[in-house]
């Protein structure tokens, strides 16, 4: 039996906090220097398609709550009420939560963000699948100052509050005059290209008064961290990585669109070798729909690679889409193209934005797509998210109520793992690999932690001087 995920996170947090023992926090801030390796400057309005980008984004736009390991309100309180057999989760923004322009966060802002996800056909909406009539719940008429956003459950689903802590549900709002969207963050864009401490966070401004970013590469990045020129690194590092591996990538396909034998050829791919060579660490192969961290120990032992299956006859080509700008997806897509080509399956590659790929997949224009998701650290919501990739509402309706019936978290996790293993061959979703956050923290940065998703959190971080 593996230790619970929360315990591992606490252990890691303790390790991070170690160097700070005995030192005093200074409220006068200082500038936290962050090296970005292969990343652009953070923006609030992004899908945060990698743990690194998601971490950077979280500086400008905080999620509704943090998993430590349970949901801890950050921007909104989450209250579950019972009205007869039906339960509701009330999401009420905290009074001190303000956007970068000083305007308060309202339930309408949260609903608007969720509605935007629905319009974009975001796979993360599967996390809210247990909500009865989500569209109605998100309407402005359904909101009230006291109850905020009311999310009625169609069936028992104990993990809804934890699901709402997912960074995908981070509320953002467009600026009235246009420009980049803003969130309720620890920091806000300011002069000198830096991020300056914001006063809109409910728990008050962070300790470092500013964040300065500098693009770095390879060994120079590690040396900069070692010499203290930067306090933290996001991106490739040579140092030890830690935290859960929850950023999972799947190959989602249309069963009727792939040529015969293509799935078998894909399943014959040596994913471990694929990940080892083509996916930057920390990363491991996915042996099941859920990563090992969310499965009971030994539940999904790596199976020996199947013998390569070749096309019986010249197969028709099919298109594999991947997200443009996501290096690991591109490397894996190109490698899959080569491997399938060698086995007689011609593959065209299409690099496009996540939104365009979602659109193409929903309209059936793409035969196969690589999809990367940040899985919740809880098996049941994670399974809901993965099953949602199949775009089969009946499947969710069939599987999730039974999972929600399990009141005990451990029992729910076991059942989720069982269903994940059982459903693996039935859904058009091929698990490929799961990655973690590549980040390095220097000795001068104290109390930088990872949240339940493995993302770097600077809520309580401070600088030694």
């Amino acid at each position: 039996m593996k230790p619970p995920l929360g315990a591992a996170a606490l252990l890691f947090l303790g390790l991070l906090a170690g160097p700070a023992a005995g030192a005093a926090r200074a409220r006068d801030g200082g500038t936290l220097a962050v090296g970005l390796v292969g990343l652009g400057p953070p923006v609030a309005d992004t899908s945060a398609d990698s743990p690194e980008a998601a971490s950077a984004r979280a500086l400008l736009a905080l999620p509704l709550c943090r998993l430590r390991p349970g949901p801890v309100p950050l921007l909104a309180s989450l209250t579950r009420t019972s009205a007869g057999p039906q339960e509701e989760v009330h999401l009420v923004p905290l009074p001190g939560a303000r956007f970068a322009d000083g305007s308060p966060l309202r339930a309408e802002d949260v609903a608007a963000s969720l509605r935007a996800l629905a319009r974009a056909a975001s796979p993360y909406l599967s996390l809210l699948a247990p909500v009865a009539d989500l569209d109605a719940a998100l309407q402005a008429e359904a909101l009230s100052p006291e109850a905020g956003l009311r999310l009625p459950l169609a069936y028992a689903w104990p993990d809804l509050e934890a699901s709402l802590c997912h960074p995908a549900f981070t509320p953002t709002r467009g600026r009235p005059g246009g420009g980049p969207a803003q969130g309720v963050g620890l920091y806000a864009p300011g002069a000198e290209g830096r991020l300056w401490a914001a006063r809109g966070a409910p728990r008050g401004p962070p300790f470092p008064a500013a964040l300065a970013f500098s693009p770095l590469r390879g060994r120079a990045a590690a040396q900069a961290l070692q010499r203290g020129e930067v306090h933290a690194l996001l991106g490739e590092t040579t140092g030890p990585d830690g935290g859960p591996l929850l950023f999972a990538t799947y190959l989602v396909y249309r069963p009727d669109a792939l040529p015969a034998g293509a799935r078998a050829a894909l399943e014959a791919v040596d994913v471990q070798a694929l990940v080892r060579t083509f996916v930057p660490g920390p990363a491991v192969a996915l042996h099941a729909l859920l990563p090992d961290a969310l499965l009971p120990a030994g539940a999904a032992a790596p199976a020996p690679p199947r013998p390569p299956a070749a096309a019986a006859a010249p197969a028709r080509p099919f298109t594999l889409g991947y997200e443009v700008g996501v290096a690991d997806q591109r490397a894996v897509a190109e490698r899959l193209q080569v491997l399938l080509h060698d086995r007689g399956f011609p593959v065209r590659l299409r690099a496009d934005s996540r939104a365009a790929l979602l659109q193409a997949r929903s309209t059936g224009a793409l035969e196969a797509t690589l999809v990367s998701l940040l899985l919740p650290p809880l098996p049941a919501p994670a399974l809901a998210l993965v099953l949602g990739l199949a775009q089969d509402a009946a499947l969710l309706q069939r599987e999730l109520p039974a999972l929600g019936q399990e009141g005990d978290a451990s029992a729910r996790a076991v059942r989720a793992a069982q269903r994940a293993l059982a459903l693996a061959a039935q859904v058009p979703v091929l698990p490929l690999y799961v990655r973690g956050l590549r980040a390095g923290v220097g000795e001068a940065l104290v109390d930088a932690r990872r949240d339940g998703f493995g993302l770097l959190v600077l809520d309580d971080a401070w600088l030694l001087r």
Binding site: T277, F278, P317, A327, A331, E334, R335, V338, D342
Partner: protein, 555 residues
């Protein structure tokens, strides 16, 4: 065609023909020269590409050797062999950068690709092309097919490859080189200035440069079955050839113009005496017998001019003599006629006078009766003498004419209306209007009068019929008077117009002579032909005025 034109054309032909004959030869010669130049350029370009290809082999070998000696290669190889996280599959890109290598891969001893700059997705596989380079002697470039990425999947492409072991890391090898593609073709084209196609067999792998016009190809082997096909075009030389031929054409054209101009000048100089001779001959024909051709001309033409002048001088002298003789003959004729005319009344006069004289001398009592009887006859004869003398006087001295434009048809209509013909005469008229001549109306009236009287008198004893017609014939206006008389024999047609010729008793024989003289003095003529009814047609021919009233009169 006039002689001057023919001479001009002949001069032009003489000037241009040599150029035209020589033009094809010049063009052929130019073509041969430019062909040789094209071949020389092709050989030169092929030599440049050969040298470039050799330098490329050296450069590839050196670049791979330098990459293998790079510290980064050692670190990459160690990282790939170590237990830690593997570097990205494209980590070899850093080694290829700046070295001009489009192919670079790090291989282990088994030939497995561990990192690839040109095809990272092949990491973990064995590429037979790279393996061939690995198995070749170290540092010796070979041409082999390697796998490269393409939108539709992996594809095989020939490359010039060299292999070197990574320094300090046993079992690690760098294989690098350049693809035999368009980039290589572009480099070879840039160095040679020619169009270059990199080929494998008949397949064109890449091309660069443009050889315009007719192309000449040379093949430079690159290794295995790959080659660089080098082409030079003759566009520039063709342009030069075109310019030269154009210049030649311009010279021919200018020569043609010059020769035509010179030909015209020479022809004019040559033909001017001939034209003068022609004009002189025409003047002689018009009666200007003293015409001389002035100016000098060389050679035979000069002799001809002299002969002409001699001829006209002789002709003039002869004509003068003839005129004198004719004048004498005419006077004799006139005198004979006059004598004849005078003699006829004189004889009765003499007889009457002798009779009266004898009667008076004899004191005949019938003298008074005789005188009374003879006096009218003598007066008659005297009147006849007087008429004869008047007619001759009129013939000799016609009054000066005062010509003016006359619409011949309209005028004839008026004149006929005034003419008092015998009622028994049947007249037919056909008078075209608008035919204007320049004539003296009185003299014209005399001509018409004479012709009408002549026509009527020619039909004595018959029912007289006279037709008067005015019509145009070419540049002439014709006034025709036709009768139905016995007609005129051809042999006596001209004698009708001789003064004194008359077939009528009591006629002076001057009417038609006067009519012809008037016709001649008006620039026309009077002739007689046979008419449709067997009679005579007297045709007065006068030149039409060129003022819109008919055809222009001849000059």
């Amino acid at each position: 065609m006039r002689l001057r034109t023919r001479l001009s054309l002949a001069f032009a032909a003489l000037a241009v023909l040599p150029l035209l004959v020589s033009a094809p030869f010049v063009a052929r010669r130019l073509r041969t020269t430019f062909d040789r130049e094209l071949e020389r350029r092709a050989e030169s370009a092929a030599a440049l590409v050969t040298a470039s290809a050799q330098r490329l082999r050296t450069r590839v070998a050196e670049a791979v050797a330098a990459a293998a000696a790079d510290k980064g290669a050692e670190e990459l190889a160690r990282a790939l062999q170590g237990p830690g996280p593997l570097p990205p599959p494209d980590a070899a890109r850093a080694l290829a950068e700046g070295r001009g290598l489009s192919v670079l891969a790090l291989l282990d001893a088994s030939g497995q690709v561990r990192s690839s700059a040109h095809f990272p997705a092949r990491a973990g596989d064995v590429d037979r092309g790279l393996l061939a380079a690995l198995q070749a002697p170290s540092g010796v470039p070979v041409v082999a097919d390697v796998q490269v990425a393409a939108p539709e999947g992996p594809r095989v492409w020939p490359a010039l490859l060299s292999c070197r072991p990574v320094e300090g890391v046993p079992g690690a090898f760098l294989v690098g080189g350049v693809l035999l593609d368009g980039a290589l073709a572009a480099a070879l084209s840039a160095e040679s200035g020619a169009e270059v196609e990199v080929r494998r067999g008949s397949q064109v792998l890449g091309s660069a440069g443009v050889a315009s016009g007719r192309q000449l190809w040379r093949l430079v082997p690159l290794g295995a079955d790959a080659a660089a096909a080098v082409a030079v075009g003759d566009a520039a030389s063709a342009e030069a050839e075109e310019a030269l031929l154009l210049a030649l054409a311009l010279v021919v054209g200018a020569g043609l113009l010059l020769s035509v101009a010179l030909g015209v000048l020479l022809a004019r100089r040559t033909t001017r005496p001939l034209e003068a001779l022609t004009a002189g001959a025409r003047a002689v024909a018009e009666g200007k017998l003293q015409t001389r051709v002035e100016g000098t001309a060389p050679g035979e033409v000069g002799l001809l001019v002299e002969a002409f002048n001699y001829m006209t001088a002789q002709l003039s002298a002869t004509t003068t003599a003839l005129v004198k003789a004719e004048r004498v003959a005419a006077w004799e004729e006139v005198a004979r006629g006059l004598a004849h005319e005078l003699k006829n009344p004189l004889t009765p006069l003499q007889t009457a006078l002798e009779t009266l004289g004898a009667a008076q001398a004899a004191g005949s009592p019938r003298f008074a009766d005789l005188f009374r009887e003879a006096a009218p006859a003598m007066r008659e004869e005297v009147e006849r003498l007087k008429r004869t003398v008047d007619a001759f006087a009129r013939f000799a001295r016609l009054p000066p004419s005062s010509p003016s434009p006359v619409d011949l048809g309209a005028w004839a209509e008026q004149a006929l209306a005034l003419d008092a013909a015998s009622p028994a005469v049947a007249r037919e008229t056909s008078l075209a209007k608008g035919l204007t001549v320049r004539a003296d109306r009185d003299q014209l009236a005399q001509v018409l009068h004479n012709l009408l009287r002549n026509a009527e008198e020619a039909q004595a004893g018959r029912a007289p019929w006279v037709a008067v017609r005015v019509r145009a014939e070419g540049p002439w206006a014709l006034l025709e008077v036709e009768d139905a008389g016995p007609g005129v024999r051809e042999e006596e047609a001209e004698s009708l117009f001789a003064p004194g010729f008359s077939k009528k008793p009591g006629g002076t024989g001057l009417g038609l002579a006067i009519a012809r003289r008037i016709a001649t003095e008006h620039g026309g003529s009077l002739e007689v032909v046979r008419g449709g009814r067997g009679g005579a047609v007297f045709r007065l021919r006068l030149p039409l005025l060129a003022d819109g009233h008919g055809p222009a009169a001849p000059r």
